[in-house]
């Protein structure tokens, strides 16, 4: 009994879980380096290499037939055409880099690799640091971590629902329209317009509604509009004439339900148009801006004396803001990356939090006592000490992102898939999803393998260093 574990030994003969202990990242993949069998020891009791072969046989067979053989097969297959009859050399690889569709997939993969791992790692770091300051850290971690257990298909369905265009269905647009409407005064009366006759006191100019006469001080102006279905304003307050004094007036829907009423006059059943932006214009310059109240009346305060025309700018008559087209060709990749972050941020957070708990508290406290601010502690001590974990998280994410398939396949609607396409999806599409070109499919698979090769080497290096 010469060798002992140097790993932490739990009481009661419990074995420390491999790499799951709270040790620093270096020990993670090889938690007990000292326990490694030293091949230089002289012969001791032990099984023969033949025994090893028996134990390894099933795994070796499966790995050879299902993983290694396919790599070799694919290398050769990628040099032949779609049906596999004709040798095309590197032709398939050539078309990867010349075909505009595959170039789009490569561009998208580049966006993914540049954006997603960085955001996931940074968010994970922020969350891990912040959860140290709350009492409900466990609940928070479970909530963020939960998407990891969910299939990417389910996550895709979840985000198809989130990203629905209609603000009455998709929660993303529902929130955004609420926020937008809070900050934007546009009431949105699309279709509202003045009557087109000589008696009408206002007319359309460049999309805006402008009074024909100069407005007299103390003489409220009337701006009757039509063109709205009465239902739109059936809950609005009855229109009221503005009190005289200064530049004032009323904007209302000059239509009585069921007919009747006097044209260009406020009738008791007619409704005011609330929330319309009104501008006082003099010599082509806007001198004042106000908004109509619930009964459609408006009143400018603090306007210098002079003569004005009143203008209702075009923004009042545009269709209301209807949310963002998440699943359109322009935003599809950022939208899917959003879903990806939702899935993976918890993973990053948990790994980084484990690394954080291994940082000696003394170092942090010493710095704090020396008067370092929280930011300095974070920037100068926490982050450098965490850098091995951050690297592992980042690299894991890059490998994962290179192979991203399900989320793109599920979230991007069929018509937008060409714009959202990534290599892994294109590989499937080209070989099985109707493309029927296995030469190209093999080339794309090899291309994917080449992209992850650096990380294969990274893993091997890390392992060999840890074993030492």
């Amino acid at each position: 009994m010469t060798e002992r574990l140097d790993g932490p030994q739990a009481p009661g003969g419990d074995i420390p879980a491999a790499g799951a202990t709270s040790g620093p990242i270096e020990t993670r993949s090889a938690p007990a380096p000292a326990a490694r069998v030293d091949s230089s020891t002289p012969h001791r009791l032990g099984p023969s290499p033949r025994m090893a072969a028996l134990f390894l046989l099933p795994a070796v067979l499966l790995l050879a037939a299902w993983v290694v053989y396919p790599i070799i097969y694919s290398i050769f297959r990628s040099l032949y055409d779609s049906v596999g009859d004709r040798f095309v050399g590197l032709g398939n690889y050539g078309s990867i880099f010349t075909d505009s569709a595959t170039l789009t997939t490569i561009r998208n993969n580049v966006i993914w690799v540049v954006v997603a791992p960085l955001i996931v790692t940074v968010l994970g770091l922020i969350f891990a640091v912040l959860t140290e300051r709350i009492r409900w850290a466990t609940a928070f971690k479970l909530i963020l971590f939960m998407p990891m257990a969910v299939s990417l298909l389910a996550a895709g369905v979840i985000f198809r629902l989130v990203y629905e265009q209609d603000p009455d269905k998709g929660v993303a647009n529902a929130v955004i329209t609420v926020v937008h409407d809070t900050f934007s005064s546009s009431a949105g009366y699309p279709g509202a317009r003045p009557r087109e006759n000589d008696q009408a006191p206002a007319a359309v100019q460049n999309g805006a509604v402008v009074t024909k006469q100069q407005v007299q001080d103390g003489q409220p102006v009337l701006i009757p509009l039509v063109g709205l279905p009465p239902d739109v304003v059936k809950d609005a307050a009855p229109a009221k004439a503005a009190p005289a004094g200064g530049v004032s007036g009323t904007v209302w829907l000059d239509v009585v339900r069921g007919g009747g009423g006097t044209l260009n006059q406020i009738d008791p059943q007619e409704r005011g148009l609330a929330g319309i932006t009104v501008e006082a214009v003099s010599g082509g310059v806007v001198k004042g801006t106000t908004e109509t109240t619930a009964d459609g009346s408006f009143h400018f305060t603090g306007l210098p004396a002079g003569s004005y025309v009143v203008r209702l700018p075009q923004s009042n008559f545009q269709a209301p803001f209807n949310g963002i087209t998440w699943l359109g060709p322009g935003l599809i990749t950022p939208a899917i990356i959003g879903a990806y972050i939702w899935v993976w941020a918890g993973f990053a957070m948990v790994l980084i939090a484990a690394g954080l708990s291994a940082i000696p508290r003394d170092a942090l406290e010493a710095a704090r006592i020396d008067g370092a601010t929280e930011w300095q502690v974070f920037r100068r001590i926490t982050v450098p000490l965490l850098s091995p974990v951050l690297l592992v998280v980042f690299v894991t994410m890059v490998i994962n992102v290179l192979k991203v398939f399900d989320l793109v396949f599920i979230i991007a609607p069929g018509s937008v898939q060409p714009q959202a396409n990534v290599i892994a999806l294109e590989m499937w599409r080209v070989s099985f999803g109707g493309g029927g070109n296995q030469g190209m499919g093999s080339a794309l698979a090899i291309f994917l393998l080449v992209l992850v090769l650096p990380f294969m080497i990274f893993n091997i290096r890390r392992f060999r260093r840890d074993e030492r």
């Binding site: 709270s22 369905v157 629902l161 894991t396 599920i410 069929g414 294969m456």
Partner: protein
Amino acid sequence: MTTLTEPRAAQPVERGLLGRVADRLGGGAVQVVLVLVAVFWLVPTLGLLVVSLRGEAQNNASGWWTLFTKPAEITFQNYSSLLAAGFSSSFWNTVLITVPATVLVIGIAAMAAYAFAWIEFPGRDAVFLVVIALLVVPVQIALIPIAKLYGFFGIFGSIAGVVLFHVAFGLPFAIFLLRNFFVGIPRELLEAARMDGAQEWRIFATVVFPLAKPAIASLGIFQFLWVWNDLLVALVFADTENQPMTKALQSQMRQFGTNVDILAPGAFLSLIIPLVLFFGFQRYFVQGLLAGSVK
């Protein structure tokens, strides 16, 4: 052991009055931010659940969040029509694929990991490096060749084919994780058993395997989730009668708008078991994650 439930060390130490006030305020801001983040993370899944519990007409008429003002709208109609449409068979296919794929990986990987950890043979380190190298090989590489192979052996489309594919691609991670655990088992336990003349199989089955329960639990839950949640492998290798839930649901995606009443309850059913497992075994889940975040 680091788990999600491990209590955090408090942050004591004397600070100046100013520092404490700043902490208080900062703490408040942190609370608010993290509550917002948590809501942000919960709402999408909540939306799926609520949509699955509302009728098609209601879902078309208004947002799912309006359910909270009219809870009477809750209905299990979507679920019953989903099951009536034969969704349960794809549920069983998922089980029939996932359980064997998990059990086989554990058994085969444990044997290999035992050899890597405790039996000396020439070239052991080199072979193990190959296993590590295979960790990151994308499954895409094997789709075409294995499809050909399965066609040749007549198992294309079968559950067995899907299972074997998952077993093979689960092995590198499984061997890696278990081997790293096995090398941590005290040598004297094995030496003692060998002194007693125990056969290697016996040592494996009665000494190492029982000791490795935490690692096997970690591996098991990972492999289970990986196979249960897989879409790509099923898409290629499972035909319609053997398809798991993910493939069955995927085939409904084309008309997402009109199929929400199938997709929402289906997606929710598919994530119930993973979620239960996740909450039940989150300790092992985290351990597995920490042990092998390289895949």
